[in-house]
Amino acid sequence: MHTLFDFLTHTKGIAYVVAGLLLVSYIPFWRFLTERERRH
C-alpha cells in the first residue's frame, strides 16, 4: 500500500460493502423491535 490512492481504493471499497450490509440488516432489526406493536 504505497499510495494514498491505493489505500483509499481499498478502504472505500470495503466501506461500501459494510455500509450496504448494515443498511439491509436494519429491516429485520426494526421488525424485531416492533413485533409487539404489530401483533396488537
Partner: protein, 345 residues
Amino acid sequence: MTVTRRGFIGGALGAAAAAATADAGTVKHFEGYPGRYGLLHDTTLCVGCRSCEAACKEVNGLPPVTEPLDDPTVFDSIRRSTDTSLTVVNRYVEGGDDHGAVYRKLQCMHCNEPCCATVCPCHAFEKTPEGPVLYHAELCMGCRYCVMACPYYALAYEYDNPLTPKVMRCTMCYDRIKEGKLPGCAEACPMGAITFGRREDLIRVARERIRKFPDRYIDHIFGEHEFGGTSWLVLSGVPFRELGLDEGLTTEPLPAIATSYLGVVPLVITIYPGLLLGMYAFSKRHEAVAAAEREEAVTKALAEADEATQQKLAAAADRAAKDKQRAIDAAVKKALADAEKGGES
C-alpha cells in the same frame, strides 16, 4: 539524581506525546513506490525546438506534427495537448534584449497521487511502481471525469471517434522504460532540458543546480510537493506563475481533497435509517396523542353537555313543580275565599 515534580510531569507528558506520534494509526502518510522514475524539465535550457513533440508523435504512432518545427508563429498562441498531440511546447516569455525566450513543455505530470485515478468510477487508471500513471482504455466508459479534474489540463479525448473513443495522454513511454530505454522526448531533446531518472535522484540534481546557480533559478522545484507531488519536476528562471504553473498550490494530495466528502456516505447510510424511523415513529405518536386528546375532549364535552342538560331538566321540573304548587295554593285560597263568601250570605 533527584526527580523533581516538574521533571516527572514533563517526562510523563513527553512520554505520552512520543507514544502518540509513534502510534500514528489514524494519521497516514504515503511515500509512494520507492525508486520510481521521474523527469526533470529545466526550462532555462529549453529553446523551443519542439523535437520532443515530433519524437513523441513518432514513438506513439500518432499523426506527425502539423505545424512545422521551424515555424515560429506556432508560439503566438498558448496551445494544449490534444488527442493527437500528447505533448506541446509553449513560449511563455518572449525573448528580449537582455533575456532569452522562455519555453515550457506540457504533458501529463504523472502525479504521485493522481486525481484522474481517484475520480475514475471504473478504476481505469493505475499508478505503477515504476512511476508512470497508466490508462486502461478497455475499462473506460467515457465519462471524462478525469479530463474534467486534471489541474494540469493534461488529458484529451477522442471526440471524433464515435464508438471507441479513448482518453489520450502522455504515458511516460511506459513500454520503453520497462525495456530500459529513455522516453521519446528525453531521448530527442538536444539541449538536455529533459532528464530522465529516479525521482529522488532528480530532486537532488535539481537542488544541486539551484544551489550552484542561484541567479539562474527560482529557488523552488515545482512538482516536489504540489498536490502531493508529481513525477515531472520543473525548474524555472522566471516565476512559475508566468509559465502557467501555480506554485501556491496546496501540498495536500488531490485524492484527499476529492474524496473527503465521501466519508459522509457510510454515515448517512447508517444514521439515516435510525433517525428517519425515529421521526416516523414520532410523527405516528404525535398523531396518536392528538387523536387521544381529541377523543378525550369529545367525551368531556358530551359529559358536560349531559350534566348541563340534567341540570336544565331538574330546574325545569323544579319550576314546573313550583308552578303547580302555586296554582294549587291559588285554587285552594280561592276556594276558601269563595266558601267564606258563600258562608256570609
